[in-house]
């Protein structure tokens, strides 16, 4: 992701064409404290935390319209830095996204269930987005967010990103049911983008176990027995999920300025900006520039030409994020495979050690003497030894 330009505390920005100043006073743990003095907007004489101050609105708007900067020093169409941590366990895949201070964790798990009677050959994909008690305040209990769940469902499931028919194991009997649990651990704005990105990263990193179906008996007997065996990933490689495309979401915010009817657009809003924004647009696109979902909320009006321009900007951003995501997934996959190999090799080595059979030892991946071979260097390998001819010469050859 692109890195934001940081504004140092203490710097004063001229706003309102010299009629006032915006000064970033202090960056505390709870956010940015700032003062804004301008004849055009209500005067704030005291520094106050952004979340609780009514003058916050004036300060955000003054920064945006007069200095063309946002409170954290970013340009209007600049995104915060992304960080991703991926985890993979047996039958479980997890991805944690950090978008500035926003932190979202998505976990994918799978189980074999009976399919829906009206869709007997399709797997199931369920999403649930919850605001963890660590993020939501003042309600300190976890509650599912319907709005976020719907946005994630529309972006991923309704756009048919996942091939659900490929999740069928035995038609009418058993299909894979994938459950994607997303938890918002820390809320600093732009939750929709973070949730969709975390879900897609988790779905791409997840590996489902291989299954084999053993069918006994025939139609003539009247009883057909099917035995479904789920193989542990150490026995048989687990498989990635069948994805048609990767949809990602980009959210823009609209701010109504004093001068023109055309609203100012910012990307990747923080929580303080979201509280002040006049409208919001979320666009879900994939790398093929197909529009998967679009949602416009809030009262401010947006012209069709601006809508088109924003969709094109979103498409570029999706390409950028997708490229970054692919690189992260690749390195995490290599690391997970390496750990798996070490685990398997460790077991085989243990088994070989307990059986004193030379043939079994030869078959293992780790040869007991391999360490000795690895430590030999070139000079050791090509050492010359004294022959009987050298011994006869005075002084002798090297040993």
């Amino acid at each position: 992701g692109s890195s934001p330009e940081r504004q140092q505390p203490g710097a004063a920005l001229p706003v309102g064409r010299g009629r006032g100043t915006l000064q970033v006073v202090q960056e505390g743990k709870r956010g940015l404290f700032a003062t804004c003095r301008s004849s055009q907007y209500p005067t704030m004489t005291e520094a106050a935390p952004l979340d609780k101050s009514l003058g916050n609105r004036a300060a955000v708007l003054a920064a945006l319209f007069d200095a063309n900067l946002r409170f954290d020093g970013r340009k209007p169409l600049a995104w915060r830095t992304l960080h991703l941590q991926l985890q993979r366990r047996e039958g479980f895949g997890g991805a944690e996204i950090e978008m500035g201070k926003t932190r979202v964790l998505a976990e994918v798990s799978a189980e074999l269930v009976r399919p829906h009677p009206d869709r007997p050959t399709e797997g199931l994909l369920q999403f649930n987005v919850e605001l963890s008690p660590t993020a939501s305040w003042p309600s300190a209990t976890a509650h599912p967010s319907i709005e976020l769940t719907r946005m994630v469902e529309r972006g991923i499931r309704d756009s048919q990103a996942l091939d659900l028919e490929a999740l069928c194991v035995v038609a009418h009997e058993r299909v894979w049911a994938l459950r994607v649990e997303t938890t918002v651990l820390d809320d600093d704005g732009n939750l929709i983008d973070a949730c969709v990105l975390a879900c897609m990263a988790a779905l791409q990193h997840f590996r489902r176990p291989q299954v084999s179906v053993d069918v006994r008996g025939g139609e003539s007997d009247g009883l057909v027995t099917r035995k479904v065996t789920v193989h542990h990933s150490d026995e048989k490689d687990a498989l990635p999920l069948p994805l048609h495309h990767v949809p990602l979401c980009v959210t823009f915010g609209f701010f109504q300025g004093p001068r023109s009817n055309v609203p100012e657009v910012v990307a990747d809003m923080t929580r303080a900006e979201e509280a002040v924004a006049a409208g919001r647009l979320s666009v879900s696109l994939n790398t093929h520039k197909d529009l998967c979902a679009l949602r416009k909320g809030g009262g401010c009006s947006v012209s069709p030409s601006m809508l088109l321009m924003l969709t094109q900007t979103a498409a570029l951003r999706v390409q950028e994020v997708h490229g970054w995501l692919v690189a992260q997934l690749k390195s995490a996959d290599e690391k997970a495979n390496k750990e798996r190999q070490l685990r398997i090799r460790g077991r085989d080595y243990e088994a070989a050690r307990s059986v004193p059979d030379p043939k079994a030892m030869l078959n293992t991946a780790v040869h007991p003497d391999s360490k000795a071979i690895e430590s030999l260097d070139y000079n050791d390998l090509h050492k010359t030894y004294a022959t009987w001819e050298d011994d006869r010469a005075p002084g002798g050859g090297e040993n």
Partner: protein, 233 residues
């Protein structure tokens, strides 16, 4: 035609470490920017994130369970386990955490205040309650709440088949017939609480406790480094 279905999972993982070995613990401090203090404690695949808000002024006169005085310090614990966990289980664990942490907080310094502790466990691979206690303790220290000592917890169990004692049993590799979570207070390592599930022979309890205490010493040392606390001991 009738059809019968059966499923089984083939293959599995065995415990990769010794019976008395702990998984490597991991602390991450200050994750949640909106909270006054936060920490994450990981023990292998089990990860618990804790966030503390407060102490802040509590409105009204809430009756405190410990002292029976109205308007005293209150501790609210909220716990959210993994998706597979039922609601009644989280209720039991919330009570245990409150019982362990409430006496350790120097409530005399915070009259008429309330402290909210929120915990979220994303994945449970055994020892979730111990991880919750450790994460909560680190979050309280990160928030600057004054404590009498730092609680450190560890879980020990009895192997279902071999009947041997295991330290820090993993759900994915160690099937246990009984488990006990022991809580000690650093730096003196006084045992303060035990949470047990399943039948345990009383004769093996001292051995389980000493096993857990030794592990808690390592966790406490790591905790001290992680939170940056200088203790007198």
């Amino acid at each position: 035609a009738l059809s019968a279905m059966s499923e089984r999972v083939v293959g599995g993982r065995k415990r990769q470490r010794e019976d008395g070995a702990l998984r490597p613990p991991e602390y991450t401090m200050g994750l949640v920017s909106e909270a006054d203090g936060s920490a994450r404690f990981g023990l292998g695949a089990t990860v618990v994130t804790a966030a503390v808000r407060g102490p802040r002024l509590s409105k009204g006169s809430a009756l405190d369970a410990l002292s029976g005085v109205s308007g005293a310090f209150t501790l609210d614990v909220h716990f959210r386990g993994p998706a597979t966990m039922r609601q009644n289980e989280t209720g039991r664990w919330k009570t245990f955490l409150a019982d362990v942490l409430r006496p350790l907080i120097l409530a005399e310094r915070y009259p008429r205040s309330c402290l909210t502790l929120s915990l979220h466990c994303s994945h449970d691979d055994g020892a979730m309650l111990a991880a919750a206690v450790n994460a909560a303790a680190a979050a309280l220290v990160d928030a600057g709440v004054e404590l009498r000592g730092i609680p450190v917890a560890c879980q020990a169990g009895v192997d279902r088949d071999r009947k041997s004692l295991l330290l820090d049993p993993q759900r994915s590799t160690d099937p246990t017939s009984a488990e006990a979570t022991f809580v000690f207070v650093a730096p003196e390592m006084h045992p303060v609480a035990v949470h047990q599930s399943g039948p345990i022979d009383p004769a093996s309890l001292p051995e389980l406790e000493s096993m857990a205490q030794q592990a808690c010493v390592s966790i406490a040392n790591l905790a001290r480094h992680a939170v940056g606390v200088e203790t007198s001991a």
